[in-house]
Symmetry: C2
Subunit: 366 residues, 2 copies
Amino acid sequence: MRGFLNTPDSSLYSGVLARYGAWMDLPAHTRPVTLLEGNTPLIPMPRLAQELGGGFELFVKFEGMNPTGSFKDRGMTAAISEAFGRGVHTVICASTGNTAASAAAYAARAQMRAIVIIPEGKVAAGKLAGAVAYGAQVIQIQGSFDDALSLVVEISERHPIALVNSLNPYRLEGQKTAAFEIVDALGSAPDWLCLPVGNAGNITSYWMGFRQDHARRSSGLPRILGVQAEGAAPLVLGHPVEHPETVATAIRIGKPARGEQALEAAEQSGGRIIAVSDAEILAMQRRLAGEGVWVEPASAAGLAGLARQLREGKMRLSELRGRRVVAVCTGHGLKDPEIIAHNMPAPLRLPARMDALEEAILGVSR
Amino acid sequence: MRGFLNTPDSSLYSGVLARYGAWMDLPAHTRPVTLLEGNTPLIPMPRLAQELGGGFELFVKFEGMNPTGSFKDRGMTAAISEAFGRGVHTVICASTGNTAASAAAYAARAQMRAIVIIPEGKVAAGKLAGAVAYGAQVIQIQGSFDDALSLVVEISERHPIALVNSLNPYRLEGQKTAAFEIVDALGSAPDWLCLPVGNAGNITSYWMGFRQDHARRSSGLPRILGVQAEGAAPLVLGHPVEHPETVATAIRIGKPARGEQALEAAEQSGGRIIAVSDAEILAMQRRLAGEGVWVEPASAAGLAGLARQLREGKMRLSELRGRRVVAVCTGHGLKDPEIIAHNMPAPLRLPARMDALEEAILGVSR
């Protein structure tokens, strides 16, 4: 790779390519474009571990603390850096959510044009606000998400336009750095990794990353628990889901691009892929917020799956004793505030008087 | 301070009290409550520096990458840690925005009850969603923000309820750690620090932090450019503003709690406090997003002020030659997506056909 873009001082944290580029399979022409993604915290969750039965250590890898609020930034820095180094001026993706915002941000950083193709149907302005804020051009086609994806694949084959959907292999190279960070923080791989599974790029990347890390420094391998939403669980059902439905929009995917690799990751690691209900996802979202970590619904799926496995006896506390479990939370709650705002109780209304406030808070009246 | 809460492994990044506690003036009873706040990136902005005239280095300290999406988390970890160590079970603040979300998150982390008092008037659900998500109890009083603040001050004096508004001195102790981080990253203090000024706690904290750092390791002192919004510029006007108005809601404050200290910080540092228009703020917000950094409007005020000073010749490029300027961006754009969503153009609609897409993107028809 040539010199890093925009990083005058090597003592500064300079993003995942600067830190882990030597372990990423990127072409020689790659020129790093970074917003200082990665370096996300691993938050201890001792109380939640206790509630789930105790005896093991539990951490949340909070990927919502990336520059655009989701884990997508790790893969996007790699994909955009490759395209930028190749001299491409335009990037394109089919997405209505986190991928679009991330692509738009990194394209802006490299002064490239970003085009986001969205399918027919109601547009959730809040979900698109990120992409639009970063200056992406949004085009709505009169077709499905699959139609949108086919079109972006085809146009990227015909013209010098970089496809940055997860079919782009450099996305995985970037995303796997989260595994390296977990090993760096813990000193070795955790015993279990729990994470949501939608398009299945992330589970594939983590497994790549942990295997590579283990080959390099014998850091061990986690067992992987991949968790889908019941209404969008093609890898559990064994067939595509025509009309996936779940409150966890970030994993509302019926035909995962990396389904085979996800199943392999689960099997090779001695783990599994399961499904949980929207109610379980939302309950775990609330539980995590009750520890000060507000994530978007999909992000709670991994932990909801862990809770369910323990409840059903499919994972035993005796197996977990003394072990370390990491749950990946992929996006910040700020990505989907509507789900909170729509169910928000009206605030209690009081006169602006001390006695009223005391009574409301302390249950005493003077 | 007693042992750190919830941090089993000292090799993990453990938040600002773990890293900088030795330099913070906190009572011995303090027990750290952390969400791994701080450790935020300093993003180089060479293109923007060039546009502003060039010849100097420009960085954005992106405080939107804190756990709840704003710089408030630095001060809140300190305030809540003190209250937690003191055995307090309830915290209270008057706020409708970033302070409320941060207080609620850290209270949740410590299993304390959080109460948020909001003034009369229309409640922006989006702004409150964070606090509600983290489990705060929201009470609306039939009075102004000042009435709300008076009430929370009084109730915290009468009962064992911790006030975590910026009157709480530990908030400043936490917030000053951002200055330490800037020095750690750059190797010395920058020549100028530009930042938004609302309630003036942050400018006060940075000045405290830089002075302390300089006393400890001769890191130098920045000149400080504090920037208010024209419709909420009491420190520029020299008197309180009865009805402050600005699109930059996070600095829409007419009677700053730390006004005197802010004026001192500007004067002692050889800097100044100025005001910019909402149009300048929004233009700079767009410009920053065009570099891949989406911030809430108030966060763009510091850089908008720098741009204006240079344009008006009140700061000269010759003075800045070879210098380093840091602009503080206090909150993430995700905190205020409405401002984007409301002005969003409708997407271009196309049939799901390759020729239509090619024509739209490339201006060619086959």
